[in-house]
């Protein structure tokens, strides 16, 4: 069996195993084992991938497997990975693993909780390994829909409203995507020959420019909704704030990356001409996302809202970098996806743990937590430093690469936008340091906080997993960067090989 199919199979087997568990203890142990295996599998996958590349295999996609599903419409189950998808799979399995331990104490309908969580994860894994637009879309929607129950049942605050808003907005995004996929399908091959959903096949064919002009916005905005593109980001703060810890982690850490990955893999890769033409519109939108999200985070008072807005800003940066369409910036975009995925998951995990102890998420009501919760406090500081781009942690590598790449454009429009986006670094520092200052230092405002207990073993495991990954990328970014660059090369070449159509600027 192909190693990639296991990434869907293991979660499904875990779900079946959970059905047979008797109590809460068994359920969470089974989930942890299943996702632990998944984590080892993705380590194995990275190892196998690198071995294969070192052996000189230069195929675009490795571990390629293709099976016909619906012959008449030429729908296939096609899977394969390149450096980018391997990195994303690695990210997903780390975050899911950490998420299981972060939700160790979920006791209300625990079986259903872990099943929904793992179902969501399997959708994400399926999305990253798919090379067929049909299965890709199927997994995309599969990843979105468990969110409704996860937020609605186990969330907090106005959870029903948030769950409905999130689901409907993401589904409306996928409605745009649906049209785009059908359009791509019917122009996937020269007229008269067999149509296909296979990404690699479609890429060989040039979609007529008129169709590209029509379909590109559909695809970009469709994925952009999930990537929290301004002004379609409003589901994100509400959804994240109401979601239970593990779901926020998974959603901000992984699910929002589906948007960036999709924009890159489908929108820009398949329709480079339209991408060049329309990039300026979307560059402005993403630029607004970056700055607006950062300012939004400054004025928020609720920890989760702060982090949600900072996610809007960081995910905006991913789309921003992808639209720059050069090798360096896109490399930065992928590293930023991974770096932000780990950071934000860590943040949400910590916020969940702090909320579980203080029962409030408003920063004004807290203070001096460093004294009572030294472990969580230290990890929070490190996460914060990673988020504001301290060298040695993953955030620095990502943002540095992105801005260097963006600045390679010599025209005024790109330069100005890059400088505007750069300002988000400063704003990020403002809100991160402000939160760290009020939350962790200063006097303790509530006597009740004096009796709080520091992190339990499962919480330490959850946060340390993420922390190690963040530090690893920060210390040794090259192996990741190389892995991505190798696959990025031919793609960027294809995108920029169409320089015949110049953009507006």
């Amino acid at each position: 069996m192909n190693i990639l199919s296991l990434f869907i199979l293991i979660p499904l087997l875990t779900i079946i195993a959970i059905l047979f568990t008797g109590n809460m203890k068994q359920t969470r142990v089974v989930s942890a084992i299943g996702m632990g295996i998944q984590l080892l599998m993705s380590a194995l996958l990275i190892y196998l991938y690198l071995t294969e590349r070192n052996a000189g295999n230069t195929a675009a996609m490795l571990f390629y497997y293709d099976a016909v599903w619906f012959p008449t419409l030429n729908i296939h189950y096609t899977i394969g990975v390149d450096g980018i998808s391997v990195a994303m799979i690695g990210l997903t399995s780390i975050v899911v693993f950490a998420g299981i331990f972060a939700s160790w104490m979920v006791d209300y309908l625990y079986r259903e909780f872990f099943i929904s969580l793992i179902l969501l994860a399997s959708g994400v894994f399926g999305f990253f390994i798919s090379l067929d637009l049909f299965t890709m879309f199927l997994f995309y929607e599969l990843a979105v829909i468990p969110m409704y129950l996860l937020i609605g049942l186990w969330g907090s605050g106005p959870k029903e409203y948030s769950a409905m808003k999130l689901t409907l907005m993401l589904m409306a995004g996928s409605a745009l995507l649906f049209v785009a996929i059908l359009g791509i399908y019917f122009y996937s091959a020269p007229s008269g020959s067999q149509l296909t959903f296979n990404l690699l096949e479609i890429a060989k064919n040039k979609i007529p420019i008129e169709m590209q002009r029509f379909l590109f916005p559909f695809t970009f905005i469709g994925f952009g909704v999930l990537g929290a593109l301004f002004p379609f980001h409003t589901w994100s703060p509400d959804g994240h704030a109401s979601a239970p810890t593990a779901v926020s982690m998974l959603h901000a850490g992984v699910l929002m990356k589906l948007g960036g990955y999709g924009v890159f893999r489908v929108a820009i890769y398949l329709m480079p001409e339209a991408a060049h033409e329309q990039a300026w519109i979307f560059l402005i939108m993403t630029g607004v996302s970056v700055v607006y999200g950062a300012f939004g985070a400054v004025v928020q008072k609720d920890l989760k809202y702060i982090n949600a807005y900072s996610s809007v800003s960081h995910c905006g940066l991913v789309l921003f970098a992808i639209l720059m369409m050069n090798q360096t910036a896109m490399n930065g975009a992928v590293i930023q996806m991974i770096s932000h995925g780990l950071m934000t998951a860590l943040f949400f995990a910590l916020i969940g743990m702090i909320y579980g102890r203080t029962h409030t998420r408003l920063i004004n009501e807290m203070g001096g937590l460093m004294k009572v919760l030294p472990f969580l406090g230290v990890v929070y500081v490190i996460a914060g430093l990673a988020s504001l781009g301290l060298p040695g942690l993953s955030g620095f590598v990502a943002e540095m690469t992105i801005f260097v790449g963006s600045f390679q454009h010599t025209d005024t429009f790109h330069r100005v936008l890059t400088i505007v986006a750069c300002s988000s670094i400063v704003i990020t520092a403002v809100y991160i340091l402000r939160v760290v200052g009020t939350l962790l230092f200063g006097p303790i405002k509530n006597d009740h906080f004096l009796h709080l207990k520091d992190a339990m073993w499962f919480e330490r495991l959850s946060t340390l997993t993420l922390l190690i990954a963040i530090a690893a990328i920060g210390m040794a970014p090259l192996w990741l960067s190389n892995m991505i660059n190798f696959s990025l090369g031919p793609i960027v070449e294809k995108i920029n090989g169409v320089a015949t159509v110049a953009g507006l600027f």
Partner: protein
């Protein structure tokens, strides 16, 4: 002509025998034993369904009035499976005291309408089509008024018969114009002679209106909600699933074979009606609190989706339509099955009564969730595949904006489908519906739905099999 030739009419003949057999058996049952007819009727119909799947010969009868092709057999089999599920699901309700003496009437009426639908599907000319239509409609009014001691049910019956009579009149007027302008009522001849002469266009519009009544397309849908709400649940599910499916089958066959020469004209009409039907059906469904009414309006929206398959005008379109109806049968019957099980045990039909259902009846809740997800077109259940293929067919004709409107409507519909999920899972309730067990046959009916919802999508052979039998608009 030999007896053997009549074997092409196998589906209808066996069904008629079955109706008579149920009648005769019922005559010989004592008053206290009337409920014994339930297992007998179900097993007889089960045998009929199985026979339907055996290899059959195809051909024509009565000089082309009656045709059997692989496709008609498939359509009849799909309907048979649906009816079988309904028969299974209806047992708990039928066993109730109040239905004691008229159990067999339920079967006789139901199966008579099925005979009518089978004739409609096999019709080769407009006369047969009309006869089938009437046979399918009139017993249906009696079914709607089955619990006639309730005024709502009686009202549903009279509403159905009046609106059906009107729509039949309109349809018949269209047919008379067709006959007047072409001199024939045979599909093949009419199809060959049809052009865009004003009278013939008018004839088509009348015909389409008549059929639109039956499928409850907007603006001819007004009877639907009241009739659906007034009828007993299992009858409602029959209306909204079997009757609608059969009408969709017939509409697409007639549109493709008879009116193909004015396809460029009717595509505009279908476009408009599809947009109206989806949107208005959805907007009304948003506010419904009664589960039956809610499903009635949602099924109007679903009918709008079916039109997207018709508008493609190609082979993908017909395959997708038949496939969608098959998926729709399982998903909608899953939802109706749960409603019927709950209604039969507790009499509760309002959405508020479903609050907190998951705590007490997890299995029913899960089936309901699967069904509404399938209706909303959420993967990995069958509805996703059904909708994807339907929209693919519309996109193949270049109708991207129509597809966009349809997918947006699917998103709107997701809102009210999620309301049901929300009621069952999230809403708190001090007095939820207590745990209960339906009888074994009802449970079989529900289980088959769950199985179908799961399997049909992934099992691509179903789609491929349908695709072998369908055809595109003749040019």
């Amino acid at each position: 002509m030999s007896i053997y030739d009549f074997m092409t009419m196998r589906h209808e003949l066996i069904l008629v025998c079955l109706v008579l057999l149920v009648l005769i058996i019922d005559l010989n049952l004592k008053k206290s034993q009337k409920h014994r007819i339930i297992p007998i009727a179900i097993s007889l119909f089960f045998i009929h369904t199985v026979i339907g799947f055996l290899p059959a010969q195809t051909g024509e009868l009565f000089g082309g009035m009656y045709k059997t092709t692989g496709l008609t057999i498939l359509m009849k089999n799909i309907l048979n499976v649906g009816v079988l599920i309904i028969l299974f699901q209806s047992t708990t309700w039928l066993k109730k005291e109040e239905n004691g003496e008229k159990i067999s009437e339920f079967y006789i009426l139901l199966l008579s309408t099925l005979v009518g639908m089978n004739f409609m599907i096999s019709s080769g000319d407009f006369l047969m089509l009309y006869l089938g239509l009437e046979l399918a409609t009139i017993p249906m009014a009696a079914l709607a008024a089955y619990t006639h001691h309730q005024s709502r049910s009686a009202e549903a019956g009279i509403k159905l018969i009046l609106s059906s009579a009107l729509s039949s009149g309109i349809l018949l007027f269209g047919l008379s114009l067709i006959y007047g302008s072409t001199g024939s009522i045979y599909f093949d001849t009419v199809g060959a002679l049809y052009s865009n002469a004003p009278m013939q266009v008018l004839a088509f519009i009348f015909f389409f209106t008549g059929m639109a009544f039956k499928i409850s397309l907007v603006p001819f849908h007004l009877w639907t909600a009241d009739v659906y709400e007034g009828s007993p649940v299992n009858v409602t599910s029959y209306f909204s699933v079997i009757s609608k499916g059969a009408s969709a089958f017939i509409l697409i066959m007639v549109m493709y074979t008879v009116f193909h020469s004015i396809a460029y004209l009717w595509k505009d009409i279908v476009y408009l009606v599809a947009v109206l039907t989806m949107t208005i059906g959805n907007l009304f469904a948003l506010r419904q609190k009664n589960m039956k009414r809610f499903l009635a309006f949602s099924s109007i929206a679903q009918a709008g989706f079916i039109l997207l398959g018709i508008i493609g005008g190609n082979k993908i379109g017909m395959t997708a339509t038949v496939y969608f109806v098959l998926v729709y049968i399982f998903s909608n019957l899953g939802a109706f099955g749960v409603i019927s099980a709950i209604s039969a045990k507790t009499g509760k039909e309002s959405m508020d009564d479903y609050d907190g259902l998951y705590a007490t009846n997890p299995k029913l809740t899960l089936l309901m969730m699967l069904s509404v997800f399938s209706l909303a077109g959420i993967p990995p259940v069958a509805g996703f595949f059904g909708k994807f293929f339907l929209f693919t067919s519309a996109a193949s004709g270049g109708y991207y904006w129509l597809v966009f409107i349809a997918v947006l409507n699917a998103t709107i519909s997701l809102y009210y489908y999620l309301l049901v999920v929300k009621a069952m899972f999230i809403n708190k309730n001090d007095t939820p519906i207590a745990f209960f067990k339906s009888d074994i046959m009802t449970r079989i009916g529900l289980f088959v739905c769950a199985l179908g919802i799961f399997v049909i999508g992934f099992w691509s052979q179903v789609y491929e099999f349908i695709d072998k039998l369908t055809f595109a608009i003749i040019n």
